[in-house]
Symmetry: C2
Subunit: 228 residues, 2 copies
């Protein structure tokens, strides 16, 4: 039963609590059971401790969620991205966020609920630097990043909501879209002609492609009011 020093200290480190270990376990819990799967009781069980212990390292559940979100966003924003022009880089950064939220839907809602905080600032900074490079005048920079960011958060939130809703009703994503499509195509033709006409496109569409359409719309808009 004796253990070498190395093994001992490794195990020690593995067993003692730390913010990082708590955040790591939170991410695992959020990925596997969604936002409502993250409770201090489930978390403390996974960490083989009591619920109170976590409060020594983390101030609140809201802080914990923001920290978990930031871990994902930091990873995403620090990854290299390729693109030759500022607009190409903006596209790539936005797409990286889309993919991160697609892989971790809870990040979508966590981002929104932490306004002005680190995770949002990381994205803001990446986008803003490219707007600067693009020659957007200082006075217009805030409104422009703000718009891009709002769009990304909007899509991310929808993504999170879709996943949550599908999970709650025991459907997968395509079943969910099919259900919405069916409901839409049964709406009153006089009141909802557009929604009905678009119901068919719903189940065939590609979220990722649609996301980029919106980004390109905004980038084109920046070009239109500035010239290329």
């Amino acid at each position: 039963m004796r253990q070498g020093k190395k093994a001992r200290s490794t195990q020690r480190r593995e067993e003692s609590l730390s913010p990082d270990r708590i955040i790591e376990a939170s991410i695992a819990l959020l990925d596997s059971s969604g936002e409502k799967g993250l409770t201090f009781r489930a978390l403390s069980e996974r960490l083989a401790t009591g619920p109170g212990a976590i409060y020594w390292h983390i101030a609140s559940k809201s802080d914990l969620l923001t920290a978990a979100c930031d871990a994902i966003v930091a990873r995403t924003m620090n990854a290299p991205v390729d693109g030759a022009t500022p607009k190409a880089i903006i596209r790539a950064v936005a797409l990286a966020m889309f993919d991160a939220i697609d892989a971790h839907p809870w990040v979508g809602s966590a981002l929104t609920r932490a306004p002005g905080q680190l995770p949002m600032v990381r994205v803001l900074e990446r986008l803003g630097q490219q707007l600067h490079a693009l020659g957007v005048p200082d006075k217009e920079q805030w409104a422009t990043v703000s718009a891009l960011l709002s769009y990304i958060l909007g899509v991310g939130g929808q993504n999170a909501a879709n996943t949550h809703y599908a999970r709650e009703h025991g459907l997968d994503r395509s079943n969910f879209l099919g259900e919405v499509s069916t409901i839409w195509s049964q709406l009153d033709p006089d009141e909802y002609p557009f929604t009905r006409s678009v119901a068919g496109q719903l189940s065939a569409h590609d979220d990722r492609v649609d996301f980029l359409v919106g980004i390109d719309l905004m980038l084109d808009g920046i070009g239109a009011s500035r010239g290329r």
Copy 2:
């Protein structure tokens, strides 16, 4: 103590429960105490009944929130809007949603959490009809409304989060923005040059104007890839 028939029946209607009365009371509760103020216990107290009674009329809290949200959105989307061109109408509809969410921040998050449901569809329909009038090709209509809607939901979600965060910390909105601005201006200059440079614009900006900048960016984008 006798009462006329009319008075009697009026009072009856006021006292007996109905989905409409429950929704009305929910809106009042949400407006006055925010999203966390809406509980079945607080609601049943305000309606002078027991928590169980509400379940006779409403299936779940999530349904209740969506119904309350829909009441606001329906009111907003049914109000006449002026605008001579499709783009002007889109602007006006979007702005009406912004103002509605500004007045009832909880609508921002409720909208996002009811994907594909009635409140969203009302907005989708209004915007979509104008895109159709604008001559956006059928194949592109879904991605285009979807982008506009995501942007509106994104701004709405941020709006809700800002209000929630400020309320939680006992600040008003301008204090909150001032605090964020201060934090941003103290960020590391090498890592966050853009965010620092933009911190000053934060406290002076006008949410409503910024919102329209994003809408115009997208409308210009639609124009750019189509001509006018």
